[in-house]
Symmetry: D2
Subunit: 456 residues, 4 copies
């Protein structure tokens, strides 16, 4: 890692002015148990680190050991004094407006999540309670807009992809933007940035001034995938399960670009849900797409689905190679179908209440070595249950690759052991080897040491 | 009461679109214990009854026994179906936009208050906890605007006043509006409407398009003082103590017009707080004003303060007779002083954190016959404690006059008995007799039967 | 006239920032022939004199002989330095925003009218050319809004009316405002202010933030009828004929309240146009209305129409006594009919191109004693021609009453002599005597000396 | 040229709704003498042809011989029916909003320019009169914003440049956009598009929602340089001299990227003006910049200036190679200096009144063979006069390369003959040869046949 540049600055929010009560400020300042300072500092560091080349959360944290935040309550609201902050988010000493807003969004979400945990209003152990919790987090972040027709397309895919694939994501974003579609991603670089960039240009051409570029992230991942500054609405969900639920409840359609383990996790999560009998009739546009050079990638993935979840699962998505216009047209038509269905069934445009998500997709999966080893990967399971378990396996791999806690666990206990029916392990092995070969596991130029071992 | 006109209608909010979770909707629909339907129905009825001649909450409730609300969740948010609703809030069958918004504000506050009660986040028995609670209610209602300089003038006074006094409140509002001041009142008719009306015209002349006309009410009083439709921000606080705290924390200055028992309650509450040693240095512009014909009223009140709380209390306010310009100039200068003080002491513009409110002003006073009888009205008490107890006596009188629960209690147990030092009881008797003579206890034309008895 | 208060101030426009070329600034500064300074000074004085008690233009001009305007071009646009200006339009030394904008509107219209006169683009002697000219003046003033559905109601009537009638105009304005209607008037006090005031309150209730209160005036009349500050769009048309054409082309319906000679002029102008065979099918809502006490006034006027223009003319309007709701409902329905007609005939919402206005209504009538004496008031004329000539007679009376040039002409040559068939002169005499008796010719409290003489 | 796709569509403007009088509509529809239809059709075709590969105006015109426009006046304003229109500007059959607005901007400018020509208000033969005319055209197009501080950077350079140079213009635009600068160009592709694209992304990051991307073009050039749809304000000036004056009066600084003859024309025009003694003190930031590969280009240009206009001229600009940040920092500081100077000298932010432009830079130069042959290119001339004549020589070359009239003249009379002192002709020859070699005269892939001949 090159030498880091640091800056001191004092910032106030622009636009939506966040205000806190004195008690909330105290909690945010508090270091140690029950205090929120460490969590806020970590998210703030990730936000300020925008544009960084590293995706190793640990490295980033260690590069700025003396970074500090002072939280000041003053006449017109909150002020944050940043000490020894990364210089990336500043232009001639002034913080980029978007990064400035994200800082305050992080503050808002961290304070609110804490308050929600203290409420006895809902039962966080029930499926309905978890969904209600996700709803409250999103509503509090002001991303549920009742007045707007469905037009939010979620884009999933790798944060580290080859230039050709990146250019392609920009073109798809441009084609979608020309059709008035908004973009939601995991808010980092790569696939999480390209479609937003393309759509920004397209929205300018279409004179759309209320563009939404929604980024959904989580404390454990934000450092590895620093939010790109085109994101204009940022929400930090507490964990990957809440984040995934947020994606599928606020998105009106999903486009998947090439990616690595994280992308596979997202894809399996979604397939598992769409395969649930309750969701059989629900329209949910899902396209897998990439440039010509990514054709092989999708072929392998498509085979993997065939070998594990079967033909029915393949009917839930469409693969489009090297045709941004067609992707955009499918999505534009898809969100219209979603709109018609919601109107017919009196469901909200801004939150997909009708989508059934079973508890095994909602409950946090703690990727301990023990839990990973215990995963049931049997071909006898119903497709949506097998999908849930495969999802968990990939969740563990993501943790081992980029999450601070996961990296530390691997350092201590060695790679995760994943076991199951050979009819599943073989295709899985093939898929994972492909990811490694195509350098989809880590940023190119770094040597990938697998954090998992498949039992054969 | 004349025959009532009823209407059926289906309404959605305009502007700030409220959205609820499915669990919140269920709770709102629920009748009986733990359900919020009865409370919402009562507030909605009050809002729809805008412009009514009656201030007897019980009469109003009884006039629309078959009024119902259906709460519907749909594509673009919430819809309310109103059945057998009062026709007052409709023009050619279409609901007035302002009343429509108030309905959804009431819904928002009722749902949020309930959720707050379920939170273990704060201790509602501590002074800081109560203040935090008031802050959260106001923030959730989106009335704390961090960006604005102080300019909110609270106007207190009677909901039922003679025409000449009403015209005067309009003139004062006009003079304040020409100086860019916003208005906050208890949101009913009379003094709660006049200044807003005058300021509306003045803001039009000054091309002010973000006028704020803030109404703070409570479930127990809203029916007796139906919100006037100029109010463009409505908040329903749970009880009179939270409401009074909200007034003094969001207002940057207060103007008191002639009124009855409610006005006296508010005046004593504020004096009691300003007399607390901790608030000695705090600038808080306070003007008592009325037209020529109200001079006697203020003379009696001024004497009452002298006789009970003393000279120091008199220094906390200024009386201005028949001079709207002067009132507005004092307020305009006063809010500038407040601004300078807050900047100097790093206090928020939007919430008066520095104002110390002792617990005896915050804790709800239940106006039972027992509690009223037990009030300590002794001249030996420190001024701010005596003020607190006098405030409670007036709170009971208001309840007995217009609140449903109070009216029923009086029907059952006869008038409240109020006892204390004769050096206090005598001036109090004089003040109350004056209120009755001047018809400030009830709407003119109705015969006032006192709900209290002073022990001599 | 009471002693006048004067003030010096320096103002820039708020909102729509007018900018001028250097050549335009020079012309505006220029005193004497070809210069526009005198005209601008006169209009500015009238605007600053808002709220004045006098309607005698000459008096006003003479009260501020040392009033001056400096026009400064600077970085952010124009600045006006006002020296010895009337203090009416200032609050604590700061100019009311509305008056400030009007100053710049006057500047804009005076510069543009001058430029238009220099153009050979159109033939100001042809009917189409005059209409084109009116269109260009209105478009340049930015009052033709293509996007809005028809909702502009013109209110005509006296600038000096009894309190009861004034209150009534507020109520009508309130009822119209509740139905979303905008108001256009001649922009002075009395009937020109009341409906705007009522509608301002109603629009606040309906949360309408783009209210339009359009004032159309002319340099010769502006001093006598100083613009009221609720007007938020002001246009100064060159003469009464252009102004009347502007009223009937931008208004979608017209309400006439009691007034004097000016109101009669407007009423006859409109009747004459609506009686033209080409306009037979055109929907044009026209209501005459007043409180109970004005019933006699309308009875006399109705008789006068019967006696001169006949039964057909009476079918063009509806008289409503003491029922603001009904007036508003007729207008609300009327503008809907206008909208349907325009859509059907592909005419613009913002300009009534289809209304035929004959040249004799468009050509300026110079109210010299000679021209007045030569008016043909014969019962043999077609109704719309007779209406045109009666209109001119009233135009002369208005000039003799309040316009500076007219007042000077009467001072020099004595009253105008008006002659015609006795079948017309008798009803005319009756009508005029009524106006005098009802004090509709001059501000109450002043003694009216007729500026005309009817030849019997 | 590949086969063209055509489409029929009916469009109304979005946003600023243009409205025309009936007389204006008639003139716009009129074919033949005094009619504006042919001119409007030509500009509309160019706008619709956005994104085309050709820069030959004649080819474009000939590719759509059956393109037609119907102009319809209707209820909500204007509607244009397009018949056999190029399909480029449509997405799924719907016209891109930006192109739609440009159509109406063209309509507005054509109608207004015609009206201005008919005015006797100003003397178009005087320098002040021409400047006044340019001011009026810009003001009517609503691009003079009085409220904004100086931040408009003009970018000049080629419409046909290598990919590396194009990417560089995007980076410079991005760096300028991050500093809040707006962009003005000739509105075509290449250098006219890249900086706008970069700034669009940067403005999104800075949450700037009122971005200005101003395109200034002329009827003779628009077809060769079809407006790119990021342009959000388009003005069509009547000829190149008015257009150049518009650039230097609305721009607060100028950045020149590599280009061909047109760029040289612009550069010489600006140098000639800045060398005028009257402009000696005036701050006018001017940077020439390009990526590493363009270093040679600027070295040759810098030498040419040295050899012809001399050392003083070289002091008027700064050359920056491969450093977008530095370019943006110079411009950001430069516009601040401009602001300070304008405030000090009371000049407008929105129009550079103080810049002296001599008549020989303002008068249209008709590039006939005769006029070109007569150009005085002598080293005895003062630098600013020589610059004026060199500018004209390049103006002729541009016409011969891409303007329809110029191309036809060359077809008829052969290449222009340019003569002058050899001390000037030799550097000129070197410069032009360089342009040809670097393929800066025509789109790459086409064979360039010089439209000029230097007399040796």
């Amino acid at each position: 890692m090159k030498e880091v540049q640091k800056i001191n600055a004092s910032v106030t929010p622009k636009g939506s002015l966040e205000i806190l009560s004195q008690i909330e400020v105290e909690k945010l300042k508090k270091v140690g148990e029950n205090g929120l300072y460490a969590l806020f500092r970590q998210c703030a560091l990730a936000i300020l680190n925008t544009g960084s080349d590293s995706d190793n959360a640990k490295d980033i944290m260690e590069a700025y050991p003396d970074f500090e935040i002072e939280i000041i309550q003053q006449d017109r609201g909150m002020r944050l004094n940043l000490i020894n902050a990364p210089a990336n988010a500043f232009v001639d000493g002034v913080m980029i407006a978007s990064s400035r807003e994200m800082l305050f969004s992080a503050m808002r979400d961290i304070v609110y999540s804490e308050a929600e945990k203290r409420s006895t209003r809902i039962d966080l152990n029930s499926s309905a309670g978890i969904t209600d919790h996700v709803f409250h987090l999103l509503r509090n972040a002001d991303v549920l807009n009742a007045g707007e027709p469905p037009n939010m397309v979620v884009c999933w895919g790798g944060h580290s992809i080859p230039e050709e694939e990146y250019q392609y994501t920009k073109e798809v974003g441009h084609s979608m933007g020309l059709r008035g579609l908004d973009i939601c991603t995991g808010c980092g670089p790569g696939v999480m940035k390209g479609p937003m960039k393309g759509a920004t240009i397209a929205h300018a051409k279409q004179k759309i001034t209320n563009s939404r570029f929604l980024g959904l992230t989580e404390p454990g991942i934000i450092a590895a995938e620093a939010p790109n500054p085109i994101v204009n609405e940022l929400v930090i969900l507490p964990d990957i399960e809440k984040r995934l639920e947020a994606f599928v409840r606020v998105g009106h359609g999903i486009t998947i670009f090439p990616g690595g383990a994280g992308t596979a996790e997202e894809f399996l999560y979604l397939l598992g849900i769409l395969l649930a009998p309750e969701n059989k009739e629900l329209p949910f546009p899902l396209v897998l797409t990439g440039p010509k050079c990514a054709e092989e990638y999708f072929r392998v993935l498509h085979d993997f689905i065939n070998d594990t979840l079967g033909f029915e699962a393949q009917q839930k998505y469409k693969i489009v190679i090297d045709d941004p216009e067609q992707v955009a047209q499918i999505m534009a038509q898809g969100v219209k179908d979603v709109m018609a269905y919601r109107i017919e069934h009196h469901d909200a445009f801004y939150f997909n209440w009708m989508l059934k998500i079973h508890e095994d997709f909602q409950k946090p999966f703690e990727p301990t070595h023990e839990n990973v080893a215990a995963l049931n990967l049997s071909s006898n399971l119903p497709a949506h249950e097998l999908a849930a378990n495969l999802r968990r396996a990939f969740s563990a791999i993501v943790a081992g690759n980029v999450k601070e806690s996961g990296i530390r666990a691997i350092e201590k206990h060695g790679p995760y052991k994943i076991d199951g029916d050979q009819s599943i392990m073989k295709p899985l092995d093939k898929l994972l080897c492909g990811f490694v070969e195509q350098q989809r596991m880590k940023l190119p130029g770094t040597q990938y040491i697998p954090c998992y071992e498949l039992i054969k």
